[in-house]
Symmetry: C2
């Protein structure tokens, strides 16, 4: 390759104005986000919250780490929220960034020495009722046992309390500027797959198509991938988990792409199952069934939204699952129907048989991705992202790439 | 872009034969790796070891996860080692892979439900002296507090013991087939930077060059990056941490690349500071000083290797640091001199002022990367990987891209 070929400005690629507008929207929204977390602290009678998740940090403080950065960032990006304060930790490498990205927070220096600094940091916070900090909620699913033990030993008077999903629950309800960014990421992915189509020919390895689709996204608006691109052909499309390999695109088989882009921190997720050459009758039949199952989920959502109530994730999953089960393929649809998406690829709410029995939150955005997998033979999945708002009655598909039977490689 | 352009087979790109040979070497080496861990279990009087690190899993069992996969793999890839057994956990998505990659292990199914299965898994292991499992070492720096608590509650009779660095210490000593893969990753990176040079022109943004360098590696032998490519120009090269941005390559400034490839699981890491157009006298002076400091570290290693003894990481760091400090720039070299590398980009041993006072392990491979950073002005770093073997007296540089002053963009 003799030089970098950037695609012309693609649908979804953010402009400088978009980035500035989204940043301003986040800053304006942050006090309300913090207020909701503080309500929870009050209800749980804890004085402060220690967060370490990359996504929660960005949501509540503005401090943005890349996904791969978490492992090398030391204490940078960890944060504390009390009734009065937001404290962001950053070592010398990140001080400038934290100062710039977190106008509403106090930045405290910490490298890998948080336990040493812990008593002094807690002493700088006012607890509930103006007293000292006696109970601190900690993201126990993410904080290591070693760090937890060291923190508890460093300040025995401040009891650590396991918190699970407190901020994740807040993030499930999306603000307009968050939905805009998910939609932008969808548009980048839509356009990338469209540009990939002419490169799909019999004989091309899955791996090469996955790499090219990644490249199409990253040179036309995606700051990163939402996750590694899946490209699986023929019987490999039946693998519920599978990495693109050396297998080559073959006439008469399906070709499944599952992929997503990241734009200004927010992610997309879409699956399309294409047909290489004339579709096999069996594959066409399964495809129509999966499409019907997806429509059934959309219909169920639409009815609920019109009624100004929210169904549960179990109900929407069941609407799609019944279609597949009625055709005798219940055992070939092993995974859940969908998942929330935003700063993380998989987040609350879940739409599945094991989902929470509570009504779906709104406004929110999630995937609807029924599939049928015949081991060793073929696999079909259709996945779209949809916004759902029981308040306004709106149900809107964000992923626009056609769902009609698409034949490639001819 | 109308199609994927794969570079012709590049230096370092592994052949199918290479991959098969390395895999066979790992399988042959695994019993000795496990024996060394079991010696440690005996010394620490624990019955079993629960590991969760992606790198430790691959090293001891053969089960290979991509870096981004850890977050979505559930319990898959977690493992237990006792005196007699190796158990690899995998959910249904990963059962086939585990069976294929872990011929020496027993595969147990687990999704996100390890605590439920924990008593039965422990009951299936023989403890020391043939008795039940009473003490289990756990990677406490990586296992979450929530999981630790649930495991301890699920089987109260089996005490969990915090283990820190037991397997990492073993991984510091490299087998020949491991060093081969690090060398192959270095060759891929060398060739990629060489191919990038014609694209470096004044006016090109850092971000575009970083993306192109990534592309060069990933289309010519790298299965992944070792870490996100750093490309920083002019005063930004002084940032000890910095992501490539919109700043454009400018005549009279430096251009710093820090990057690495991954080949068959093993990684490389190299920094080159190039000059765009005629070098500024200040930058040239700093460059010569950094090169001298690096040479001083190599000399110190060479003397030690010839004497069949190993110096400490503190001593090698000091050899380079003294050269920089003597020229009045001691305060402008804030980070350590180097770090081990292998399955992870940063691993044991460390070469720094705070390194362990013990002699370096051998045979091993680590970086030597002195730098001088003038905030707001310029930054210079030269980083190479070197193998060190006090037994044979060999000290060998693996990164081959020239270290001479390299002028680009003219």
């Amino acid at each position: 390759m003799s030089g970098l070929v950037l695609a012309p400005r693609s649908a979804g690629a953010p402009s400088t104005d978009d980035l500035a507008r989204w940043r301003a929207a986040d800053e304006a929204a942050r006090p309300a986000r913090l207020a909701r977390l503080r309500d929870r602290l009050e209800r749980e009678t804890v004085d402060a919250y220690l967060g370490v998740s990359r996504e929660n940090t960005r949501y509540l403080t503005g401090f943005a780490l890349a996904e791969g950065e978490e492992k090398v960032a030391g204490d940078s990006g960890r944060f504390l929220v009390s009734g009065d304060d937001v404290v962001v930790l950053a070592d010398t490498r990140y001080l400038e960034q934290a100062g710039e990205e977190c106008p509403g927070a106090r930045v405290e220096e910490s490298y890998y020495d948080l336990p040493d600094r812990w008593p002094r940091i807690l002493a700088g916070l006012r607890g509930r009722g103006g007293g000292p900090v006696r109970r601190v909620a900690v993201e126990a699913n993410l904080v290591s046992q070693a760090l937890w033990t060291r923190l508890q030993a460093a300040a025995p008077q401040a009891e650590l309390v396991a918190a699970d999903g407190w901020v994740e629950e807040l993030r499930a309800v999306k603000e307009p500027a968050e939905l805009e960014r998910v939609a932008a990421a969808c548009a980048v992915a839509d356009a990338a797959l469209e540009r990939l189509l002419p490169s799909i020919h019999p004989g091309v390895p899955e791996r090469d198509l996955a790499l090219q689709l990644e490249w199409e996204m990253r040179t036309s608006g995606a700051e990163a991938l939402a996750f590694d691109v899946t490209c699986l052909s023929g019987p490999r499309a039946a693998l519920p988990h599978g990495s693109p390999g050396e297998r080559r695109v073959t006439v008469g088989e399906v070709l499944l792409f599952d992929f997503g882009a990241q734009v200004a921190g927010y992610r997309s997720d879409m699956t399309r199952t294409l047909f290489v050459g004339a579709p096999a009758a069996r594959d066409l039949e399964l495809y129509r069934l999966v499409a019907l199952a997806q429509e059934a989920a959309f219909d169920a959502l639409g009815r609920a939204a019109g009624a100004q109530t929210a169904p549960t994730g179990v109900e929407i999953d069941a609407a799609a699952r019944e279609v597949i089960a009625a055709a005798g393929h219940g055992d070939h649809f092993g995974h859940g129907l969908g998942h929330g998406i935003g700063l993380a690829t998989h987040e609350v709410p879940s739409l599945s048989r094991r989902a929470a029995p509570a009504p779906l939150p709104w406004p929110t955005v999630f995937s609807i991705e029924p599939g049928i997998y015949l081991p060793g033979q073929t696999g079909i999945r259709i996945e779209d992202l949809v916004t759902f708002d029981a308040g306004t009655g709106r149900v809107e598909r964000l992923t626009a790439f056609p769902r009609e039977v698409t034949v490639v490689g001819t």
